[in-house]
């Protein structure tokens, strides 16, 4: 029987594991409207190569994009097709992530806006809420 591993030194703040607590979580805007889901995270101050002891990388953005096919078949989606929401607008982390701003103007929601304007909006009745 092996000895139990020691606990890591305590650090202030809430401890989260990225895959367990952040990835695939829904993102809501300040009005509670769904914006997207968290497909990936951008880590600032972290590059490939030797790592100095002093640097403390942080999450700088939520990434969202067409990652279903790359998850199924491998590879990576081109960076240009990934949308980015700056971490500084995240206002709450719980079962869902809440933003402190409206989601309408975010680049991750442009496709939904385009679809609503050019496709759904042309269907009769597509420009108002159901009666």
């Amino acid at each position: 029987m092996t000895a139990p591993l020691p606990r890591p030194p305590r650090v202030p703040g809430r401890i989260l594991d990225a895959r367990l607590h952040l990835l695939d979580r829904q993102v809501l805007d300040v009005d509670g409207e769904p914006v997207t889901t968290v497909d990936d995270l951008e880590l600032g101050d972290l590059q490939f190569g030797e790592r100095p002891r002093s640097a403390a990388p942080t999450i700088t953005a939520l990434i969202s994009g067409p990652i279903l096919t790359t998850r199924l078949f491998g590879g990576r989606a081109p960076r240009g097709r990934l949308g980015r929401i700056g971490w500084e607008v995240v206002a709450g982390i719980d079962i869902v992530l809440t933003l402190g701003i409206p989601g309408g103007g975010l680049e991750v929601s442009w496709f939904e806006g385009w679809l609503g304007e050019h496709v759904i909006g042309r269907i009769p009745g597509g420009r108002h809420d159901p009666d």
Binding site: P6, V11, P12, I15, R19, R51, R76, G92
Partner: protein, 106 residues
Amino acid sequence: MILTELLALPVLDAAGTRLGIVTDVRFAVDPDSLEATLQGFLIGRRDHSVFLGYERKSETAPALIARFLRWRERGTFLILLDDVRSIEPDGVRLRETYTRYSPALP
């Protein structure tokens, strides 16, 4: 760098011995500013190693599932970022001396 560039990277000690792969990345979130600072990497045996996180929590129910998933994720450990010497596209290399910590969440 984005997170998925790190996940599933092999982890090697200073002698080049493979210890496992990066199965998750741990952050400490400041309760006021919500700044999330990278603390370390969870190292597991295989890439299936994130499923409900029983190996990191104290939950024991449902008992059969908890015991099975803990057994399946046995050997998972936490490496702090200070023990990482370099991160390369083909693997994470640790310093000469490093400490394996319990993966349990506080």
